[in-house]
């Protein structure tokens, strides 16, 4: 599989979850695990550009696919990706644990709807749980991200 542009071999253990493989084999610990049953969305990554739960996939299932994690959005030292920048500007994160999952979902959402309506924003982030923000600032961040992306 290709992860953030680099080709990696699949793990030897066929039952290794993709989330565990990314975190503990490849050291990409920005992908977080909040429930391990596909509800919280913390482990959201992009698989061939579409948001998926990496805790619900086996790593071997990602063989032959393009995986993008939060670390793949902006190189170290480079400016933040517009979605990351928007979360910063709008106070869209507090503890930061759910944040990578939200950011990846929003990247996917804006890929589909570059100018999302209020309903599309709520729908687009309705697969991610946040316990800190109450979502208001995240909603603002999604709209701001659309603005920044369209500049």
């Amino acid at each position: 599989m290709r992860v953030n542009g680099t080709v990696h071999p699949a793990p030897a253990d066929p039952r290794r979850l993709l989330s565990d493989h990314l975190r503990h084999d490849l050291g990409l610990t920005g992908t977080h695990v909040g429930c391990e049953h596909g509800v919280c969305g913390c482990c959201t990554i992009l698989l061939d550009g579409a948001p998926v739960r990496s805790c619900l996939m086996l790593a071997v299932q990602a063989e032959g696919h393009e995986v993008t994690t939060i670390e793949g959005l902006a190189a170290a030292g480079a400016p933040l990706h517009p979605v990351q920048q928007a979360f910063h500007e709008c106070h869209g994160l507090q503890c930061g644990f759910c944040t990578p999952g939200f950011v990846m979902s929003v990247v996917g959402l804006l890929g589909q709807h570059p100018n999302p309506t209020t309903e599309q924003v709520d729908e687009g982030i309705s697969g991610n749980l946040c316990r800190c923000t109450g979502y208001a600032s995240i909603r603002r961040a999604v709209h701001r991200a659309a603005e920044l992306s369209n500049k």
């Binding site: 909040g34 106070h91 507090q94 990578p100 309705s126 697969g127 800190c132 109450g134």
Partner: protein
């Protein structure tokens, strides 16, 4: 001190690494750590008859399988954190149960292996035989005492406490009107997105135990580990790195894993890690909020409360490691922002076969607020008065501060409200709420509240100006998302006249600051914030003193601004703070970074010794803050809701919050705290219910069935602030962390009651619960509103 940064909407400085996925959470740490898991009791109450771990131990890749007998502390009861004379029957669990388990989820066996996968395979091979015992679930069942949770605790009563102000019996007897209510609040779960986690390493050569713990109190963990392992505290370092939300249960200590992981690391000579999974969070991490209140209130024709008698039982869970702080807080907070001239409150803390309870955001307050607000709504309904008007008539007036409630507070002192303006909160909330929306099945709820914040005993901070001119600031309390790195930087930057970006804050790391208590009870802004101001203020004074010598000026004529110490009114006559930091450390050997300026031939010779008696090298200081009492924040929430009469779906049409947490350090951060708190309150009031069955099994121990709200359930929340500074701390701050959650249940109960015309006497609600209430309303309780 200028207040250039204090009060400003400064964007957070901690965001960048979190947004890039470069945060540092406990489970992110690997370093060749062994991984572990628990075998937990499937029974809520059972006697263990045998444990067989032989097959688990034989599995390749398994490094150790521990039962109680394998631990030197295996038969020692874990500590009671907050002993209290009324806690006459305090009981705590042991690290691993070996005789009786008292909640489903209690740890029995601890497995360490090369990977989590192998550890879980091994856990499946562990054979534990149980003989089930009768289960006591819910505080009412506990109070009936047909069965006991602990054989030696009669009546299941861990503690009983009675307090009285005035003469309740006489005042009730003399009151024109009297009303009795039974009000029930169920347990809730905090559910931070990051569960709990512990990573530990023992270095034999350095004789040092290093523990990373997703805890709200690393300093206390360190103290406890030092005692348990017989190490000097200087050999134990505990770090709470990035913590993915806390909300209370991470302040509890010790959970078994917090001892087992360091123990195994010391025994096995390898780092060991344990990471809670979500199911374990539901079955083994502390919960809160279960209480049943029996209220008897006496009032006059105008709706003024004359006497309130509240007798409540508190669901303590299977053990009482946290003491009786929760019911003490509830008892103290029931009167809220109202005058209650005669108040009697008795509670009994009941053992049940469920997870122990300890604070969860709000900590005893949401239920207390619910009790008082439901009572006032009942009074209004009884007298046919406007609900807001009844509140106005009972609010403590602005000229009554400091206001003594007459009951004891969680710090052992009396509850004394330091300052506030409660009528202004209510009026502003009404103004923001605006006119009632058109339509049927619409209801309005309004609830003011108070919150005792910033409980002591103290916190500290260390601030140092480096020779680069950058500033580092440390405090012992950890951060779980409250933007400590930003708000402490604002406070320090103001004191030192530098930019926020010049200040780097580190918190929750005992290597950098070893004293302190923890992040809980809406206390960090008050406690560590003021400690930061004290420490930075000391640094500023020292800087002036050193610079005065250099500038040949009077220290009183100097100010810190623009990164320099300079003469007031003559900004050109100054010395950069970096240079002052160099001069603060008289040296023999320069080490670069401009330090040659402080060597013996470069510096202007100072009369006498280079470091005069009483002075210390370095432009740094450690300061502490310890308040005389809690600062009482307050607020008022109000909402319009609509309930669908067919599906009982709740629609929150408008939700407004007026909040008074004294002086605001950073409105952006405070508003985030409020928005998050309200969302958690809405979840707790209408979506999240811990569905225990009579066998003590939690039937919905996953996010599939425990319905935490998504964005689709949380409305826009409109916020305004008023600022009544606290006289109890130099910065005038009051805490803000828990305020958002406190009155939500009370507000939604009132609004839904009005929308549907059914009496609401319990929390949480749900569409199903509303359907049940609508089709068979309870009798003899709150009369439905007209």
């Amino acid at each position: 001190m200028t207040t250039r940064w204090f009060g400003a909407r400064v964007q957070r400085v901690e965001d960048d690494r979190l947004l890039r996925g470069r945060g540092h959470f406990t489970d992110d740490i690997d370093e060749g750590a062994l991984e572990s898991c628990m075998v937990r009791s499937p029974y809520a109450h059972a006697r263990i008859t045998s444990i067989d771990v032989s097959a688990a131990r034989a599995l390749p890749g398994v490094k150790a399988v521990y039962v109680a007998d394998d631990l030197p502390f295996g038969h020692t009861d874990l500590p009671i954190l907050i002993p209290h004379p009324n806690l006459t029957h305090g009981r705590t669990q042991r690290c691993l149960a070996s005789e009786v388990v008292r909640y489903a989820g209690e740890a029995v066996v601890f497995v360490v292996a090369e990977s989590r996968y192998i550890a879980e395979d091994a856990a499946d091979l562990v054979q534990v035989e149980y003989e089930s015992l009768p289960v006591v679930i819910t505080p009412e069942v506990a109070a009936a005492a047909d069965h006991l949770v602990h054989d030696d605790v009669p009546g299941n009563v861990a503690a009983e406490m009675l307090q009285e102000v005035g003469d309740v019996k006489s005042a009730l007897a003399a009151a024109t009107h009297r009303k009795r209510l039974r009000l029930r609040f169920e347990r809730g779960a905090a559910c931070p997105m990051e569960g709990r986690a512990v990573w530990a390493r023992w270095s034999e050569t350095e004789h040092r135990l290093t523990v990373y713990d997703s805890t709200q109190s690393p300093t206390s963990i360190r103290g406890g580990l030092a005692v348990l392992f017989g190490l000097p505290e200087s050999d134990v370092e505990v770090i709470a790195p990035d913590v993915g939300g806390g909300f209370g249960p991470k302040i509890m200590l010790f959970y078994p894993d917090e001892l087992l992981v360091p123990f195994a690391a010391m025994q096995l000579g390898r780092p060991v890690k344990w990471t809670e999974d979500r199911q374990e969070h539901f079955t083994a991490t502390n919960q809160e909020r279960g209480q049943v209140h029996e209220v008897d209130v006496g009032f006059d024709d105008d709706g003024r409360v004359l006497a309130l008698d509240d007798d409540f039982i508190h669901d303590g869970g299977a053990y009482t490691p946290y003491g009786i702080i929760l019911p003490i807080i509830s008892a103290a907070q029931v009167p809220g922002p109202y005058r209650v001239p005669n108040y009697r409150v008795r509670f009994r803390d009941m053992y049940t076969n469920a997870i122990p309870t300890s604070p969860y955001r709000g900590a005893g307050r949401p239920h207390a607020c619910f009790v008082m607000e439901r009572t006032l709504d009942a009074i209004a309904a009884e007298l046919g008065l406007d609900r807001v008007e009844v509140r106005r008539r009972n609010l403590i007036a602005t000229n009554q501060f400091p206001y003594e409630v007459g009951v004891v507070w969680q710090d052992g002192n009396q509850v004394i409200y330091d300052s506030g303006n409660y009528p202004a909160l209510v009026e502003r909330a009404l103004e923001m709420l605006g006119p009632r929306p058109e339509g049927d099945h619409i209801g309005m709820g309004l609830s003011p509240y108070v919150e005792g914040t910033g409980v002591g005993p103290y916190e500290g901070a260390h601030v140092q100006v480096l020779v680069s001119g950058k500033v580092v600031a440390f405090t012992g309390i950890p951060n779980q998302g409250q933007a400590h790195a930003t708000v402490w930087a604002q406070i320090v930057a103001d004191q030192l006249g530098v930019e926020v970006s010049d200040v780097e804050v580190s918190s929750g790391d005992t290597r950098r600051f070893k004293w302190g208590v923890g992040t809980f009870a809406s206390r960090s802004a008050i406690m560590a914030g003021n400690a930061m101001a004290v420490a930075a203020g000391m640094v500023a004074e020292k800087a002036k003193h050193i610079a005065a010598e250099h500038l040949e000026a009077d220290p009183a004529d100097l100010e810190l601004a623009g990164g320099s110490v300079r003469v007031k009114g003559s900004p050109d006559r100054g010395i950069p703070l970096a240079a002052v930091a160099v001069l603060s450390n008289p040296m023999r050997y320069a080490f670069g970074g401009g330090t040659e300026a402080a060597t013996q031939f470069a510096a202007k010779p100072r009369p006498g010794s280079p470091l005069p008696e009483g002075e210390q090298p370095g432009l740094e200081a450690t300061g502490y803050f310890s308040p005389v009492g809690s600062a009482w924040a307050a607020g008022c929430h109000a909402a319009y809701v609509r309930v669908d009469p067919k599906t009982y779906r709740l629609e929150i049409l408008k939700y407004v919050v007026v909040h008074d947490c004294g002086r605001l350090i950073n409105p952006l951060v405070v508003e985030g705290q409020i928005e998050g708190g309200v969302a958690q309150g809405i979840g707790g009031a209408f979506y999240e219910r811990l569905a225990y069955d009579s066998d003590g099994q939690l039937r919905n121990a996953s996010f599939m069935e425990f319905l935490m709200p998504y964005a689709t359930e949380i409305p826009k929340i409109e916020i305004d602030h008023i600022e009544t500074p606290s006289p109890l701390n130099p910065l005038g701050i009051k805490g803000a962390g828990e305020a958002g959650v406190i009155p939500v249940g009370a507000v939604l109960a009132a609004a839904i009651e009005e929308a549907l015309g059914v009496a609401i006497t319990e929390m949480p609600l749900s569409p199903l619960k509303l359907y049940e209430l609508f089709t068979s309303p309870p009798r003899g309780e709150v009369a439905p509103l007209a």
